[in-house]
């Protein structure tokens, strides 16, 4: 028979091992942080770029031409995906905080992930449209 001390030690080890298992919830949480940091970074760059509106039509249109090249449009799809993930998982977090979402958090994740894919597809249409204009025919 093992001693009580040894028993609790083993149980504690099991519990701490459990805490580091990856679940849908912990995965969603880490991704929420990463996308959040990326979006903050984007916000700062966005303000810096868009401030050139004060330089008048020539300056602004030159900047806009650079940030709407195919490479940037490609990144823009990534941006849309990042925003969508953060926004919809944010909705999930708000629902969890109201209490209702706690029991449904896992299901909510998949429902909202599905919604994200749908909105991403809709959102990609105008971006592809712009791409099409740069490669006529």
């Amino acid at each position: 028979m093992i001693s009580a001390g040894r028993f609790f030690e083993e149980r504690l080890q099991q519990m701490s091992a459990q805490r580091y298992q990856w679940h849908v919830g912990s995965f969603a949480w880490v991704l929420h942080r990463i996308t959040g940091l990326l979006l903050s970074l984007y916000l700062v760059i966005h303000i810096w770029v868009v401030r050139t509106i004060g330089q008048g039509p020539e300056g602004f249109d030159r900047v806009m031409a650079t940030v709407q090249t195919p490479l940037f449009l490609f990144f823009e799809v990534g941006l849309l995906g990042t925003v969508l993930y953060h926004a919809l998982n944010g909705v999930r977090l708000l629902l969890i905080d109201t209490g209702w979402g706690v029991r449904h958090q896992k299901g909510l994740f998949f429902v909202l992930a599905g919604l994200a894919v749908v909105v991403l597809l809709i959102g990609v249409v105008p971006i592809l449209n712009l791409l099409g204009r740069q490669f006529p025919g």
Binding site: S40, L43, I53, M64, R133
Partner: protein, 120 residues
């Protein structure tokens, strides 16, 4: 564990404001996307943005959007710093740096929107 003042970093007020701004940003962001990328066809150009930004209502909208976005973004950043940086001096320095950057970009943004008039 020491009690945290509701208004201090890590307090309940900032936690609540993070959720409040999240809800606000959902509506503002949807409006922003709709008018900038759906309602308007083709590339973003000076003419398209200028017509919209000349309206005082859009100026108010954009300044509100900017305020919520900066607060939400940097408050989120602050949470990450509070959770991963535990050395007190370094933590305080990072928070000061963080909110200074936030304030600078907030002012650049507000200035760009507020003083805007159409040039041709």
């Amino acid at each position: 564990m020491a009690f945290v003042d509701a208004r201090r970093p890590g307090g309940i007020l900032l936690w609540f404001l993070q959720r409040l701004t999240a809800a606000g940003l959902l509506i503002l962001l949807l409006t922003h996307f709709y008018f900038l990328h759906y309602f308007q066809e083709g590339f973003v150009t000076y003419r398209k943005v200028a017509v919209r930004l000349a309206s005082p209502y859009w100026k108010i909208f954009d300044i509100l959007f900017l305020t919520l976005a900066i607060f939400h973004g940097f408050n989120g950043f602050q949470t990450v710093v509070l959770e991963y940086v535990h050395r007190e001096k370094l933590q305080r320095m990072l928070l000061i740096l963080l909110w200074t950057v936030a304030l600078v970009f907030f002012m650049i943004g507000v200035y760009s929107i507020a003083v805007f008039t159409i040039q041709s």
